[in-house]
Amino acid sequence: MAERVFITGLGMITAIGDNVADNLRSLRAQESGLGFTRQLDTIYKEVLPVAEVKHTTAELLAMAGMTGREGFTRTTLLGLIAMQEALKHAGISDVQDEVTGFINASTVGGMCDTENVYFDIADPEKSGDFLNYIDTLDCADCTQRIADTIGFDGPVTTISTACSSSANALMYGARLIKAGFVRRVVCGGTEALTRFTLNGFNSLKNVDKRPCSPFDQDRNGLNLGEGAAYLVLESESLVKERNAAVLATLDGYANTNEAFHPTAPSPEGDGAYAAMKTAMEMGGCTPSDIQYVNVHGTATLSNDVAEGMALQRLFGENVPKFSSTKPFTGHTLAAAGGIEAIYAVLAISHQTIFPNLHFKDKMEELYITPETQLLEQYPVRHVLSNSFGFGGNNASLLISKYEG
């Protein structure tokens, strides 16, 4: 019998807070992290809102305790700060007291720093400190720098499936535990804002000039964000052995593919429907067991139709409370699955449902609307967390209250 997988530690940094407690406070205060960039050199500086972490890269270096160290990108530093919190929260002072894996997620690695020096790196006539950043271009650099700083001695790798990357990292980590490969693994993702991704999504006409408004009739695209989030996953036996506090369980997960279009979901949300249904059933739940869905809800025209259709198909007339937290954090791409998995845990541990900001009018294609109020003392036992990405990649996680 495969072991159950428990969540025992959380760590994060986003535009709405440098740690989990600050994120929770901003969510409750309904304070969005959206604004204009102060870090990014782009012509869209004062045009396209983003959800940026409110620190310079030098400040992040100090926060991570790495002052004076070379070659640490913003991506790495965001990740390191979140990682340090997650391990501390789980009560792990020596990560090597148990073989521990690290499954990270990233979409463009250290592009945030590399893009500023790329043409110097590629120019034979130029030489200088920028050569320190050559190896930061790929997705593995941030993972390995975090792994080396912390001292992970289990499996170390990086997943990159666009916007579902860290949900897939959590799934892979849980499966490694269930297969008996390791008993502890830290999973999540890190993402820094880059000119590359901002221009990428903007060229797809997917970026709203206003603060994004998921599931609203008048929505017109996403806003990008940055951040990092990690969750400590442990097997039931390890949790018992070390008497660790369980925050929630990860009993169900699924990864499905749309096989429809490189960047757009099927209009009926086939992949989203299959991912949610499979994750729910794996955890032994029926639709009536789910109290909250933290939707992918990017506020792009096509995502919200597809995801909404999938919710209606799965839940019929009894769609549970659902909201997108992207108006708080922006769309943090590879970090989104991790950030929103933490929000799911917070929804359970604080019996709270977070509002979908900026919603005004129901979409004409749907009969459902997102939750717009902060609901406290709301009984939340099972949460579905959705992350969907390019390449038709859909991931859904079932996060549940630990009841022994």
Binding site: T42, I43, Y44, S106, T107, E115, Y118, F119, I121, A122, P124, L131, I134, D135, D138, C139, A140, T143, Q144, A147, D148, P155, V156, T157, T158, I159, S160, T161, A162, N168, Y172, R175, L176, A179, G180, F181, R195, F196, N199, G200, N202, S203, L204, N255, T256, N257, E258, A259, F260, H261, P262, T263, D270, G271, A274, G389, F390, G391, G392, N393
Partner: protein, 350 residues
């Protein structure tokens, strides 16, 4: 982890003529220069012309290798698609970075951005084969393919009927230059057939797209069984030394049971010492055929499976071979990527 894993089909696009024809009769492709490029097949028989026009090189290589692999296996719609890539579509990444600069962030064509996404090849395969199941991509240097393989083995263990598992990487002149700046390549220009005559800092670069169809049960068509896989991240010399006998022991084998080791030896004196753990084993290097790159382990696995299936080595590719091994039951692959990610893979004849 219980359960078995067999290679039911495979396909490879590499700097050698590996895509079709009789492997044992293909002469070694010799390239003068430190950057080996793939012998690309005619893509038209695999990809429709209108799609082909939009796709960049590594997408074509990846998609075509995957489709040929499925053909070879007789599986139309795999139960999962899992890949590894160190660099994804470099051409698209380079192009989008340049267009952002050249067009000052205005009126950009989104295609290179979309295609630069590391899971773009996975998405294309799923789309073409209408595969709506599990789909994952690992991007972690010398562990990219190996974690894709581990994920695939987990899927088979969990009950997935078959998995399409692959790896793809390309090299561009610009990236070759960039990685040369941090000492990846030899300073002297050599040709690949003379690689091992030039021990010096750095190696030669390569590329490839290699796919496998993996199943939990053996069939008459199976190429080989994948018996074991181990990854070691930046191991200490002591840990690495201890790891090999432990790995064999875990699989019920001793050193004497290994008929051949395919080694990642690449004449790079900066990292050559790791291969000393293979002292005493019958071994052959393979990177004179492929060059070195993040997912070269997939090529090594393809080669091992071919050797086990044919029960002989393509001797024209191994001029250093004195005589064919007396038996070919167990092949071990040991590779590392610039000293950081070390991997053991064990294959058995079926």
């Amino acid at each position: 982890m219980k359960g078995k894993c067999y290679i039911q089909g495979m396909a490879a696009i590499t700097p050698q003529h590996t895509f079709d024809g009789d492997l044992m009769a293909q002469p070694m492709v010799v390239t003068h220069g430190n950057m080996l490029s793939c012998a690309e097949p005619d893509y038209k028989s695999f990809i429709a012309p209108n799609s082909l026009r939009r796709m960049t090189r590594v997408l074509k290589m990846g998609l075509t290798a995957s489709l040929k692999c499925l053909q070879d296996s007789g599986i139309a719609v795999p139960g999962a698609i899992v890949t590894g890539t160190g660099k994804g579509s470099l051409q698209d990444t380079e192009r989008f970075i340049k267009e952002i600069r050249d067009y000052q962030e205005k009126a950009l064509n989104p295609t290179p951005f979309i295609q630069s996404t590391y899971n773009a090849v996975n998405g294309l395969i799923a789309l073409q084969q209408k595969c709506t199941q599990y789909n994952n991509t690992f991007v972690h240097r010398g562990f990219s393919f190996e974690h894709a393989l581990l994920d695939s083995m987990l899927l088979l263990h969990e009950g997935t009927a078959d998995v399409l598992t692959g790896a793809f990487d390309e090299i561009t002149p610009e990236h070759f230059f960039i990685k040369g700046r941090i000492g990846h390549w030899k300073k002297e220009t050599i040709s690949n057939d003379k690689l091992y005559e030039h021990p010096s800092p750095g190696t030669i670069s390569g590329e490839g797209a290699v796919f496998f169809a993996l199943t939990p049960a053996v069939t008459a068509q199976s190429y080989a069984q994948i018996g074991g896989l181990q990854m070691l991240y930046k191991p200490s010399p002591e840990k690495l030394h201890a790891a090999l006998p432990e790995f064999l022991q875990q699989h019920g084998l001793q050193a004497a049971d290994i008929d051949l080791v395919l080694t990642g030896e690449n004449a790079d004196t900066n990292h050559a010492h790791y291969y000393e753990i293979l002292k005493g084993y019958p071994q052959l290097p393979f990177k004179h055929l492929s060059g070195d790159y993040e997912t070269v382990g997939a090529f090594a696995m393809w080669l091992a499976a071919q050797i086990l299936k044919h029960q002989q080595l393509p001797s024209q590719w191994f001029p250093m071979l004195q005589q064919q091994p007396a038996k070919l039951r167990n092949i071990l692959i040991y590779n590392h990527f610039f000293g950081e990610q070390h991997t053991f893979m064990l294959l058995h004849a079926v």
